[in-house]
């Protein structure tokens, strides 16, 4: 009996506890406007925290808080389902963005003054992606996909930055002959297998090829796709002895410590590499994909775009926050910390690691990631990973076609 009454007591206590937690999660009534900023890059959390602190100080009547969950796209989807869309969203220009944009989750910002000064090239990338006229995303920062290299090793070996595909293979061969690992490949993480594919495809086949595939005008069993697949295979012999066993984290650490001369990655990895070795002298060049250096484009996509929820009650304050993020000094701070490129015109990325990329930005020789035009349900990453390990070009291209067709049938 005594035991029972003690349990009863515990239950009461629990009831109180539950009520307390339920209250704690409610809105606090301090008369301020609360804005939730949801963004998907764990690497950028600290940078945004600093900018938010500054904004909150300048605007005492607005309180911005940051949400940066893991698996952010899935969580964002659950938030949409909860009808609790965050006021301001920062995310990549992915297939998920495209689908959400088409589902009228984001507000149409056409004609808003925040769009002044944004590079029109990136604006077009976003509208191409959603296939709608409405502007639902503001490009904020851009990235580049290419090849990182260790300048110290290149100097010691008297190597130049390769300008054509053949030169790239030649450089790799020389490095291997000198007993240096040419590429540190991190193909255990399937998304990294896709980076080279993403650099080759827009240059060799062109983005239009994928748009034509949408309309069934071409198939992947096309000579241009074969060339892409064969080139993607060609780097494998120049990797480590365990190309499929190493992860992105392993790669960042190993490249930072000089274990390889080149590293196929995006500019977003640079802060992580510097965290592991602050003194590394690294450079970054656009993947040379063919024989003509002049016609080669740099693959650069929208790394972070900003969107406002259609359902927000604080559209004006949300735009004010976005306007603040886009202000020259704030966006400069962000792109320096994240080694990204500004979507606002006139703000240059001056990081010494990225000097080789400047000409591409100046002359506008930029092209978007190929996989932004491939439905997410095709799961390109795992297809490429499987292909690289099996090495069967025909099977890969056939499978790419059949997966695409399956997804298209299911979506129709």
């Amino acid at each position: 009996m005594a035991k029972w009454s003690r349990l009863l007591g515990a239950t009461c206590l629990l009831g109180v506890l539950l009520t307390l937690t339920a209250c704690a999660s409610g809105e606090s009534a301090d008369g301020k406007v609360h804005i939730e900023f949801f963004q998907n890059k764990p690497e950028a959390k600290d940078s945004f925290d600093r900018l938010i602190a500054k904004f909150n100080e300048e605007n005492p009547d607005i309180v911005v808080t940051q949400t940066n969950p893991p698996d952010a796209e899935t969580v964002l989807m659950t938030r949409v389902v909860k009808e609790d869309v965050p006021d301001v969203i920062g995310m990549g220009a992915t297939d998920t963005y495209s689908v959400l944009g088409q589902s009228e989750i984001f507000a149409d910002l056409t004609g808003e003054s925040v769009l002044d000064g944004i590079n029109p090239r990136y604006m077009t990338m976003l509208t191409d992606l959603t296939g709608e006229d409405a502007i639902t995303g503001i490009p904020y920062a851009a990235n580049a996909d290419g090849i990182m290299y260790n300048r110290t090793i290149f100097e010691e070996q008297n190597l130049e930055v390769p300008k054509t595909w053949d030169e790239l293979m030649d450089t790799a061969q020389k490095l291997q002959d000198a007993g240096i690992t040419p590429f540190y490949l991190t193909y255990k993480d399937d998304w990294t297998t896709n980076l080279l594919f993403n650099a080759l495809a827009p240059n060799i086949a062109g983005i239009d090829f994928f748009l034509q595939r949408r309309d069934d005008q071409v198939t992947f069993e096309d000579p241009v796709m074969r060339e892409i697949a064969e080139k993607a295979l060609a780097v494998l012999p120049y990797g480590t002895n365990d190309n499929f066993g190493r992860t992105y984290a392993d790669g960042n650490r190993a490249f930072a410590n000089g274990e390889a001369a080149m590293y196929i990655q995006g500019t977003w990895a640079i802060p992580e590499i510097r965290k592991a070795n602050a003194d590394i002298d690294l450079g970054f060049f656009a993947t040379p994909t063919g024989d003509d250096a002049e016609s080669n484009n740099l693959v650069s996509g929208v790394d972070t775009l900003l969107a406002v929820a259609e359902s927000t009650e604080h559209r004006e304050e949300s735009l004010k926050f976005i306007d603040f993020l886009l202000a020259d000094e704030n966006i400069s701070q962000y792109i320096q910390e994240q080694t990204a490129f500004s979507a606002v015109e006139g703000i240059d990325q001056e990081d010494p690691a990225l000097t080789e990329l400047q000409p591409y930005f100046e002359s506008g020789r930029l092209v978007d990631f190929a996989d932004h035009y491939i439905p997410a349900a095709v799961q390109l990453n795992s297809l490429v990973q499987e292909f690289l390990q099996r090495g069967d070009v025909d099977a890969f291209l056939k499978r790419l076609d059949s997966e695409w067709t399956k997804v298209a049938n299911r979506r129709s």
Binding site: T74, T96, V99, Y187, N243, F244, G245, Q385, R410
Partner: protein, 288 residues
């Protein structure tokens, strides 16, 4: 008596309602969506009849996930049961510090699958590879989890490492119910250890065997956290379990309705297996 009956209804109906609202109703919604083309968040959707099911049976990714899951479940169930029975017999032998050893063997059961997976993920890439090199074993000198053909072995290994904990303890408690006199009697008859095991030990712990098979099988068929932490279904789709396919295809791939159809089929498959097993269990219950 009627009052007594009413009390029993009062005991169950609130829980039944909650369970229905939070479990059955969402599940029915899932079944409902499997006949639509809803992507998970669009404001509108259309009915498509059995289209999702039709495409499901043509999708080799689904076949692949079933093949992996069953291969994994059967192998894990067998290895776990053999090993844990051996360990349990060792623990049941007259050894010193039995409670200490028992405690150690049960330890993995209290750890989070996700974290255990993360730890092994590191060991596979940074520790086991060094052993492989030193020993000159080619198959281990590269990360096992990165290999299309071998990754599943790595996943089985970790599942076994964690899974033997519970089954060992259950077998041990079964073995402890067997009176030692039985063995003494058989020792006089000149039975050897092997005969002793099959004639005495195994029949007496048969009920524990059934339970352990069911538990290990059910856990293995539902495997999800471990896949996320070790391989994320890769390389390619080499280690993609059914739960993982439903999760990634439905959420990352934006094909919620299609994967709901997959879940419905999966439920039917698991339910059939379970009904057979539960029937078996119930028969055992009445036998006792």
């Amino acid at each position: 008596m009627a009052k007594r009956k009413a009390a029993f209804y009062w005991m169950t109906i609130p829980a039944l309602l909650l369970f229905f609202v939070f479990h059955t109703f969402p599940a029915l919604q899932g079944v409902f969506y499997s006949f639509t083309n809803w992507n998970g968040f669009a404001k509108t959707y259309e009915f498509v009849g059995f289209k999702n099911y039709y495409y499901l049976f043509q999708d080799d990714n689904v076949g692949n996930a079933y093949w992996f899951t069953f291969k994994f479940a059967i192998l894990v169930t067998i290895v776990i049961n053999v090993l844990s029975l051996l360990i349990a017999m060792g623990l049941n032998a007259s050894i010193k510090a039995r409670n200490f050893f028992r405690g150690v063997y049960f330890l993995p059961n209290i750890l989070s699958v996700l974290i255990v997976g993360y730890i092994f993920n590191y060991l596979f890439s940074n520790v086991f590879t060094v052993w492989g090199e030193n020993l000159g074993w080619d198959w281990l000198s590269t990360n096992l989890l990165g290999s299309q053909t071998m990754a599943w072995i790595g996943v089985v290994f970790v599942a076994v490492w964690q899974g033997i904990a519970l089954n060992t303890i259950l077998y041990l408690s079964g073995l402890q119910t067997i009176p030692t006199q039985l063995y003494e009697a058989s020792g006089l008859d000149g039975a050897n250890k092997w005969q002793e095991f099959w004639k005495i030990t195994f029949p007496l712990i048969a009920p524990f065997f059934t339970i352990n098979m069911v538990l290990a099988m059910k856990n293995a068929l539902m495997v999800f956290d471990l896949i996320v932490a070790l391989t994320n279904g890769g390389p390619g789709r080499a280690t993609q379990s059914i739960s993982h396919l439903i999760y990634t295809g439905g959420f990352e791939g934006g094909e919620f309705a299609y994967q709901s159809a997959n879940s419905v089929i999966y439920f039917i498959v698991i339910a059939v297996i379970s009904i057979v097993q539960i029937r078996y269990l119930q028969r055992r219950e009445t036998d006792m």
